[in-house]
């Protein structure tokens, strides 16, 4: 089945010291930049538009179209901001990418900056991953020293400065306008739109904000061309992408494959569920995407396919849970995350997550009250689409989808603690070994 994989972004990860400039260049690195410098900004935007590349941060907005929204008559400078604030539970594609091959991102940043005519780019990295920050900064420094960044890049007359900015540890700063406020030194909370960042983003200037993987995909598109990129994936979801498998699978990790691959295929690639395990439920793209079950094994994992199944492709963070897992406990943990990370700006998200955690804790302890499930669903209804940004929406996804597929487990929460029904120790990755049943913490 190895022919299913399409390693492009991940192709050089196994190289010796793949994160260095030398290793990257040995693999043809920065040649796409030369090619891009031959193209006009408009041609670059057209190229990326034609490629069908869609945002890999979750929403799937066409990248080239986003670039084309930058007004040409705005007197302010244009900025490129890379959203590297990867914080979603389960999501783990950008951080490995930046660790293994930071130059892929840096080259993408330079090309994208040329396309939107930005002379200043920022990479906003999640603050907790200091090792990634260091590695990125080293890569940017190397790129400056080699003349890939700075003034008169490759003799083309193009100037660009790249700043690697470490966030301060807030999930909300992955929301693009909160990220901009945070980058400006303010409190990270989402901004009112309009104005949209393309018109008034960073420092009230035209700004493109793209996910790490989206930008990192650009050099390969420049190198390989539109038809090469379009040869992978499906009609509306073109290209290759990284699927991150975690949980109760034999070989968790990053699997780069064409869009539209199914979980069944990915499970085959990763050696299947762990021994004796059956797939119980899974997330297609992190905890904010409604969960799916074994009946969705053959759903094509592209933007349209997952949407048709009632969820979202999201960040393609496939968290796989087997039959030992309590849905109630799992949803409680996720909801605790959202309660902790709610920025507090709007009422439904701030108060709703605070409230839902308390109901879920009750259900998890087996002390649920009659009506709790209906209340949970109604609270979700009062949050979804009513909160200021998508954080609140995302907080409702695991709850509503879990009740949809596993209502009986929530009903059991009125009488029985989840720890009795699903001993946490059985869910641990080492449960199959000698440690099983010794009450390891969940």
């Amino acid at each position: 089945m190895t022919d299913v994989l399409t390693p492009v972004l991940t192709a050089n990860w196994a190289d010796d010291r793949a994160w260095t400039l030398a290793a990257y260049e040995a693999h043809g690195g920065y040649q796409a930049l030369d090619k891009a410098l031959q193209l006009s900004p408009e041609e670059l935007v057209e190229l990326v538009k034609d490629s069908g590349l869609r945002g890999r941060g979750g929403a799937g907005f066409p990248t080239g179209m986003k670039w084309s929204f930058i007004p040409k008559d705005n007197p302010n400078p244009t900025y490129l901001v890379v959203n590297a604030d990867e914080s979603e539970p389960g999501t783990c594609k950008d951080i490995p990418l930046m660790m293994a091959s930071p130059h892929t991102l840096v080259e993408g940043v330079i090309i994208a900056s040329r396309a939107i005519e930005a002379r200043q780019a920022f990479i906003y990295v999640r603050g907790e991953v200091l090792h990634v920050v260091r590695r990125l900064r080293a890569a940017v420094r190397e790129a400056y020293e080699a003349g890939h960044v700075g003034t008169d890049i490759h003799g083309s007359g193009m100037d660009l400065d790249i700043v690697v900015h470490a966030g301060a540890g807030a999930y909300i700063c992955g929301e693009e306008t909160a990220l901009l406020d945070s980058l400006e030194g303010r409190r990270g909370q989402p901004r009112l739109r309009p104005p949209f960042p393309a018109v008034a983003g960073l420092y009230a200037s035209p700004t493109v904000i793209n996910n790490v993987e989206s930008i990192a995909s650009v050099p390969a598109i420049v190198r390989g061309g539109v038809s090469w990129f379009g040869s992978m994936g499906t009609e509306k979801s073109k290209g290759h992408t990284i699927y991150s498998l975690s949980g109760h699978v034999k070989r968790p990790g990053q699997y780069e494959a064409p869009l539209g691959i199914t979980l069944r295929e990915l499970l085959d690639l990763s050696g299947g569920m762990r021994d004796g395990a059956e797939l119980k439920f899974w997330t297609p793209g992190g905890s904010s995407t409604p969960i799916l079950t074994a009946e969705h094994l053959d759903v094509p994992l592209d933007y349209e396919g997952v949407s048709a199944a009632g969820s979202m492709l999201g960040t393609k963070a496939l968290q796989i849970f087997d039959q030992t897992t309590s849905v109630v406990r799992c949803v409680l943990r996720w909801t605790e995350f959202y309660k902790h990370e709610s920025c507090g700006k709007c009422t439904p998200c701030r108060e709703g997550t605070w409230w839902m955690v308390q109901i879920l804790r009750r259900l998890d302890r087996g002390e649920g009250q009659p009506g709790d499930i209906e209340t949970l669903l109604d609270l979700c209804d009062n949050i979804l689409g009513r909160s200021f940004c998508a954080l609140g929406d995302g907080a409702t996804s695991p709850i509503t989808s879990a009740i949809q597929y596993f209502r009986d487990e929530f009903e059991a929460g009125l009488t029985t603690p989840s720890a009795e029904l699903f001993p946490p120790s059985a869910s641990t990755l080492f449960a199959a070994t000698a440690l099983a049943g010794k009450g390891a913490a969940s």
């Binding site: 009422t347 439904p348 709703g352 997550t353 409230w355 209804d381 009062n382 009513r386």
Partner: protein
Amino acid sequence: MTVTESGSTDAAPIELVTLTIDDVEVSVPKGTLVIRAAELMGVEIPRFCDHPLLEPVGACRQCLVEVPDAGNGRGMPKPQASCTLEVAPGMVVKTQVSSPVADKAQRGNLEFLLANHPLDCPVCDKGGECPLQNQAMSHGNGESRFIDQKRLFPKPVHVSEQVLLDRERCVLCQRCTRFSEEIAGDPFIALLERGAQQQIGIADGEPFHSYFSGNTIQICPVGALTSADYRFRSRPFDLVSVPSIAEHDSCGAAIRVDHRRGKVMRRLAGDDPEVNEEWITDKDRFAFTWSFQEDRLRTPLVRDPGSGELVPTSWPGALAVAARGLAGKATGVLTGGRLTLEDAYAYAKFARVALNTNDVDFRSRPLSAEETDFLASQVAGRGPEVTYSALETAGTVVLVGLEPEDEAGTIFLRLRKAIKRGVKVVAVASHRTRGFAKLDAELVQVVPGGEPQALADLRLDETDIVLAGERLGQVPGGLTALTALAERTGARIGWVPRRAGDRGAVEAGCLPTLLPLGRPVGDGEARADLAAAWGVESLPAAPGRDTAGIVAALAAGDLQAAVLGGLELADLPDPAAATAALAAAEFVVSLEVRLSDVTPFADVVLPVAPPVEKPGTFLTWEGRPRQFETVLDTGALPDVRVLAGIAEELGAPLGVRTVGQARAELEELGTWDGARPAAAKAPPARGAGPVGTVTLDTWSQSIDDSRLQDGAGEYRATARAARLKASAATLASAGVEPGAAARLSTPAGHAVFIADVAHLPDGVVWVPARSEGVHVRALLAAGFGDRVTLSPETPAANGGDEA
């Protein structure tokens, strides 16, 4: 007086947008937010974060509506916050009235808001006037499903000495932080933490010291922000509310006075879009206790010839004594600057009719003949020309002799609004104050006295406005240069005095050369016209003495008596000389609210009503009449009634006995339409002061220990520190260490301040005119523009002085 329409009448036609709200078609101006469009047709959408004078934020999510058609044929998939959504042609909006979705969204949101709210309405100051309480009743569910643990906070937090925060009541609408940042420019409160732990707070050691902090209490839609002096004092439904006008400056801010059982409990901002919008200074809000102090005069006092003591007397007796004492004596009349228009008119008429003199002046501060001429030629008899709204549409607004944040808070806030619309502010001053910085003002730096040259150098045009504070009148040639500037460039000028009664006193004729409503004393026709109106044979033709002249004449014996209303000797140019002059006077009548520094010299003390206990009118700096009615009916008499009593005893009836009669007579008189006196002409002063001296720059900060701020302790505690400011070179040449004590001295005395380095011209020091216990003028007999000696304050020097 004539009230002309403010602003231009040929405004561009308003573009209308037609949309449908709850199945009713409505046309509203383009750019209107849906929440206000709905209001216009009578649908009130509940809201917390929305405030018409603040930028939309969409944070509380209470005002959600359904939008089945955004105007482009497509509906919006989610309910929309109507406070951030602009109307569009063809848009269809369904509010809670017609949409079950919007109704459920709103009910759900209120349930969320109340989940963590303590529901302590029975002990909450806001209970009874609380938007959360009201909207929970009108748009919420009767019962909550929340049976869990509420978020708890220790209470309360002192965000300043005056403003307290009960965090558990807060709904995090950010009105307070947005007001502080957007309107006042004092972002000392901000959101801290996140999620349900999110809260309003201050930085360590940086309290919420803003001159406008009280507005946050008023716009708080819950009981989270309270003031230390009103907290737990009364319930809204026990209060009687009366609209009134603030008496603290010449801005004429609309206020609402809430009283209960004869006692004022609090004051709130009134809503007047033409003047103060919905904001007032903390001074206007919290400094109302001054007239209820223990030293309040309740009964007339007459000095007993035997004991020399003041003894309580009946009104008829006291009026008779006053009239007997004044009869036949050459008398000067000084009125301070705090009287209402009607009372000032009574003094002006009393002087002419009963005392047969033009020796009357309202200025209890340094003045000049140049200023007298300026007031007669440029100010008197003019209705509002330069207005608050004109400031918003000006090209440039020049401030000279005026620090609006300290001296005219309403102007300051309007200028803050104006600069967001592209108005440029230029400050002619010795240094860039915090207020000027918040106005993003360009500084034209001058040494006090250098203003005429700076004005002569300004390039302006007819779209520009120059606001001149009363300090410019203390600069020789200052007002001359101002008038010349206006003539040269077409720029409009506004004279901004400090006190609420100053502008009214000019119109009332409390000036030695000016009769009511712009009639020059020197104009025979004006005198004859007025004499006829007043029913007297003639009016004194000789120009009178101004304040300085009256003081000097009292000291010299040329005047033998004085009638003083609302005068503080400590305000006069030379308080010691004024004290001596009163001591020398044969007979002194004092009309006062409280015991004052005049009382010891008074032969008759006649208690009069403070503004809260009488009707009246203040004229704003614009010349806009701000009429108010009695708030507390205590029976205290307005000055006009007292003066009418004395006049009757003197056999020269005043013709008016009530505020209403005075008002009617003023209206009947009408503004003088004859020739105006010529504009002021005076040369700038030349030459340096004595070697070793520095030039003093000073004015009163908004919060200080003036008598009208007595009794407001918590409020006074939010005052800015009293520091001396000077350049490093100035301090060094005087041997003063930054941060150390410095002494300012004149032959009259000295004052001590801690010195700070600031960007002032060398040879200039700035100190606040009054700070707790330190009154520069009383101590130094010096003020703005005077020369003083700066030296280090050594412990030895300190030890040798009296305390």
